[in-house]
């Protein structure tokens, strides 16, 4: 598991000596050698990595990969709390379940994420650009990374098929943090399809497919495949009763609805939606009425689904979308356990062609 290659010992990090980062003692007896040792030195990244990489570590506490602000604020919005730390029960949920995805430098550049599978990526070699399939996928496997690589849903993403990785589109600030704190991932400088495909912007395009709908459709409405949706999420203690863990029911579906939040970057009227793992009673194991604002927020969310293909079943013809009522969110898709806010996202169906 923690086998270190001879090759690593000749690298810039290797010549430092194990103890420089991990602490412990240079002793022949294991217990003495491991005394005071830090298995994951980057949990204290400002002291360890920061000595040489201060330009990165000085920003990292603002990264949502570090502080998990997205999950924290997502949970907080279901409550009346100004901060999750105001409620021991909510804070316990965040710390024990959400915070499993908290990452520091080593979780991407040296080892696999701890919540995925333990162990080093390659015998302690450091990766300037982490390998997507062993790092990003470790945390994002059930949705965007799994769909991108074709392990969830139907086919993979055409960009993956062409050899592109997460880092080819996402700027480094999405991982290392930017100078300003972000509320959640939507505050980040996110990539856009138009960054590369500017000729497909509805004001630039010369083909009718990309002009006829103006900016009313997100790219995914025509080019994404079905995505993974989670329902009936529930938090419970593990079998040993020692830790909280969540579970939910997954379904591969494709649903178009109204854009939950129209912004300058995402002005579309219709977008692909994804049901996120929430229900009103999901936290009842730790307390009653934990989500008092549950019905103010939809649990069908805007989905920048990451399994893009040029040709999809819904863009095969005009009728395959306009006459296909199965792909539009309807009242039948709203479950008893869902938020009432979802009804706002049920779109008027497009005019039938036949």
């Amino acid at each position: 598991m923690f086998l270190v290659s001879e090759e690593f010992l000749t690298t810039a990090h290797g010549v430092l000596g194990c103890i420089t980062c991990h602490g412990g003692e240079n002793a022949s007896v294991k217990e003495e050698a491991h005394s005071g040792m830090l298995a994951y030195p980057s949990t204290d990244f400002e002291r360890t990595c920061g000595d040489c990489h201060g330009n990165v570590t000085s920003l990292y506490k603002e990264s949502i990969h570090y502080n998990l602000h997205g999950m924290e604020h997502g949970l907080q919005e279901f409550t009346n709390l100004s901060s999750l730390s105001d409620s021991p029960e909510h804070y316990e949920v965040f710390e024990e379940d959400c915070f499993k995805c908290h990452a520091t430098c080593g979780d991407c550049h040296v080892s696999r994420p701890k919540n995925y599978t333990p162990g080093l990526i390659d015998e302690h070699m450091f990766f300037d650009t982490p390998p997507m399939d062993q790092t990003c996928y470790g945390c994002h496997n059930a949705r965007n990374a799994g769909e991108y690589m074709g392990n969830i849903g139907f086919g993979s993403d055409v960009h993956y098929d062409m050899g592109m990785t997460c880092m080819d589109c996402h700027p480094v600030s999405n991982f290392h943090g930017a100078s300003e704190p972000t509320y959640n991932m939507w505050d980040e400088e996110l990539p856009s399809c138009l960054d590369c495909h500017s000729d497909k912007h509805h004001e630039e395009a010369t083909d009718v497919n990309h002009t006829i709908h103006g900016d009313s459709l997100s790219c995914q409405v025509c080019h994404a495949q079905a995505n993974n949706n989670c329902f009936e999420c529930h938090l419970d203690f593990n079998a040993e009763g020692t830790h909280l863990q969540s579970s939910s029911e997954s379904r591969i579906m494709f649903k178009i609805g109204y854009n939950p939040e129209i912004t300058e970057e995402r002005p579309y009227t219709y977008v692909v939606l994804r049901h996120v793992p929430t229900q009103e009673t999901m936290l009842e194991v730790v307390g009653d009425d934990m989500l008092p604002n549950y019905h103010d927020k939809a649990n069908w969310k805007y989905s920048p689904t990451h399994n893009i293909q040029k040709s999809t079943f819904q863009n095969e013809s005009c009728a395959s979308c306009h006459d296909n009522t199965r792909i539009w969110l309807t009242e039948n898709d709203i479950r008893d356990t869902d938020s009432e806010a979802n009804y706002r996202l049920i779109p008027a169906l497009p005019p039938p062609l036949s």
């Binding site: 923690f2 086998l3 810039a12 194990c18 059930a142």
Partner: protein, 84 residues
């Protein structure tokens, strides 16, 4: 006589070398590194590191047999896959 010429030549060579270095670091490349880059493995190492002797750690952690016999996995099981 020859010895004297040799010593004078040596002094001149040292002075010239000093002048050349002074010109290089003060005029040609005033912001340049004081130490040359050294390449080890695939990485550029821009300076000399203070290395802490970790020879005992290395003896065990580069040994497949020692690591295979480790019980770390049983003692420190990974968290459940969050399915994120």
């Amino acid at each position: 006589m020859n010895n004297k010429k040799f010593i004078i030549g040596l002094v001149v060579a040292v002075v010239l070398a000093g002048v050349a270095l002074a010109i290089h670091y003060n005029v040609v490349q005033p912001d340049g590194p004081l130490l040359p880059d050294v390449s080890q493995g695939d990485e550029e190492i821009p300076w000399d590191f203070e290395s802490i002797d970790s020879s005992y750690c290395i003896d065990c952690h580069t040994s497949e047999a020692v690591i295979a016999a480790s019980t770390y996995n049983e003692d420190n099981p990974p968290a459940e896959d969050t399915g994120g």
